[in-house]
Symmetry: C2
């Protein structure tokens, strides 16, 4: 078991409120956290949503996820053996709970105790070489035997190979779509076997959500976030696995890469990662030794935004236009905005929240924002 | 041209004296340097050799290389277009001249100006894979085009591939035997082409010397010593190329390694080198960028042992037995010996020299010695 204490349990009402909030228009994990920080509860945030969105210039089309819809999603999920858990609940992967943009509710199916154990991600090319597939399986088996849960993306190639080799030790599949929209479809049987063997599947998407191209990078942050470290087995330049590696770096996770011949384009990405400082892996102990000191450190949840500030700050039209003028397509830090906007932090944060809910602002990691 | 000034020219007498000294029993490059440091000239050292060896317990079989033999070697060499040069002479590779155990006379054939240019070593498996051979050629060509001389060991596999690909830019073969004992014999034609193309061959061995197994590691230190850095293309664990890499580290040369699949035993050595800190190479610019700052630094010859100490120190039997008692098969530092022997540094150095000439002492790098 990992070191964090996830022992709270939400009330049904709180779970429904949170589900309604995260499924409403323009609310992602970061906006969700801002709203909770400002409004204290999901219920209060739901009440303020329409007004905030309207002030941000969102027009009349802002949609709040209804209570009946939320109940229906929870019921349909339960029928499929899926729970929707909050970061502070037991069963939510502890390391994922510590990430800045952890899903406020994670849909999970399978062995909860497996999700609480230390995980290592193994990812790589969908069209890996025979050697890459063999090595992925070998490494997954050895790390699994050493007590780690293998987490991956259920994709063809390296992912599949890693899941299969670690079935008996527990393996976790992270889905880009809803739990009833498995991609690729031919891996439904593999997923069933993962669940039978006390492994698990997790997704932040609602049931019925068909995975689109942009959902995969978003999903990749869950793979790296839940893990102590990410091993990239084979990866061409500009491949999805490198996105996972970049996210792992941003999340402070260890990055491991498996080397290959400079003449093999499937090794170009991994060799490049090693040049940039990733740990070269040829045997499981390379990974285990690097992770030992990290496992010894206690986990802590991320710092929330400053609390106790009143959202009641009431920005006027000149505040809004001044703050919008300071924003652009390049990410800027909220701290800089507060310094330059010549008004109170509460006013700046309120305007940002309004813009976000109106679909006009994007939050990045590290307190950065940009106009969409 | 590299930055050191090798502009002295030996007189014929001095060249003959030095050749006699280095070809005498139990005199290697390090002993040669000790003798010169203590006796000032090769001539004076030759005169003192028999007595020093006898006092070290060398028995009556100590053989000094005769003057006629030395003249004969120089003449036979000249007929084959071979010069025997000292580190301070033009044509002696400048970086090799800065090493602790640079050959006091280097037998060289071919383009002297090529030997004065900045070199990069490319070495690797004799039974390299097709990919390894192709990559070695590609890298050699690109580094050659960038103005570097490629230096290697004329072996089968990677060495041959590197030499061939850099013929037109100048390439240097370092021989383990004498210039008339090319190994492997089927590379005589390649060597002839190297020389025709204004490349060169170097050896520290006399004509007629058939290379033995132990001569290859010894030769490898010349490859790494002459180069700015050494690129290892493919290497199994415990292979000769890893000896070259180790020597490169001891000589302060950059070590570069080409990665490969963990499932390929020919990449086990190179992947291991990268784990230990060697620079991963997939393109020529990886090598060039790492060497740029090193090329900018001036070269300097190694510090000689403290001069001006009289070798006239006359150790007695009790000095000898006390110093021998402090020695064993594990290398110890000469500084520690001097501290522990409770006598003058000159006495310690004299006893060490006697033991060396008697074939009982081995000098290692960094001022370390051990009993044979």
């Amino acid at each position: 078991m990992d070191a964090i204490n996830n022992t709270t349990e939400l009330t049904e009402t709180e779970r429904i409120d949170r589900l309604r909030l995260i499924r409403s228009d323009n609310v992602g994990p970061r906006t969700f956290r801002s709203l909770i920080a400002h409004c204290s509860t999901a219920r209060a945030a739901l009440e303020r949503l329409p007004e905030l969105a309207r002030r941000g210039g969102g027009g009349g089309r802002f949609r709040i996820f209804g209570e009946q819809e939320a109940r229906a999603e929870l019921e349909a999920s339960a029928k499929l053996g899926i729970s929707l858990l909050a970061p502070e609940e037991s069963g939510y992967p502890p390391r994922l709970a510590t990430t800045e943009d952890a899903p406020p509710l994670l849909a999970l199916r399978g062995g909860r105790e497996t999700l609480m154990r230390p995980m290592i991600a193994i990812v790589g090319s969908r069209n890996a070489s025979a050697a890459g597939l063999k090595f992925a399986a070998q490494l997954a088996r050895e790390l699994s035997d050493a007590g780690f849960v293998i987490i991956s993306g259920l994709a063809r190639g390296v992912d599949q190979s890693a899941h299969r080799a670690s079935l008996s030790g527990g393996t976790v599949a992270v889905l880009a779509g809803g739990h009833d929209r498995i991609y690729p479809p031919e891996h439904e049987h593999l997923l069933a076997t993962i669940i039978e063997e006390n492994g698990a599947a997790i997704s932040e998407m609602p049931l019925g959500h068909e995975p689109r191209a942009r959902d995969f990078p978003r999903r990749n942050r869950l793979i790296s976030g839940a893990a102590l470290g990410v091993v990239i087995v084979e990866a061409a330049l500009r491949s999805g696995s490198l996105i996972t590696a970049r996210m792992a770096v941003e999340q402070g996770r260890e990055v491991f890469a498996v080397p290959g011949s400079p003449l093999d384009p499937r090794a170009a990405g991994t060799n490049d990662l090693i040049k940039q400082g990733a740990t070269l892996v040829t045997v499981a102990s390379d990974v285990i030794h690097a992770l030992e000191p990290i496992m010894a450190r206690p986990l802590s949840l991320p710092l929330d935004e400053p609390e106790g500030e009143p959202l009641q700050a009431d920005p006027d039209a000149s505040d809004r236009s001044r703050i919008i003028a300071l924003l652009g397509p390049s990410p800027v830090s909220i701290d800089d905005l507060i310094r330059l906007a010549d008004t109170s932090p509460a006013v700046v944060r309120t305007v940002l929240l309004e813009l976000e809910l109106a679909g006009k602002l994007e939050r990045h990691g590290g307190g950065l924002v940009s106009l969409v």
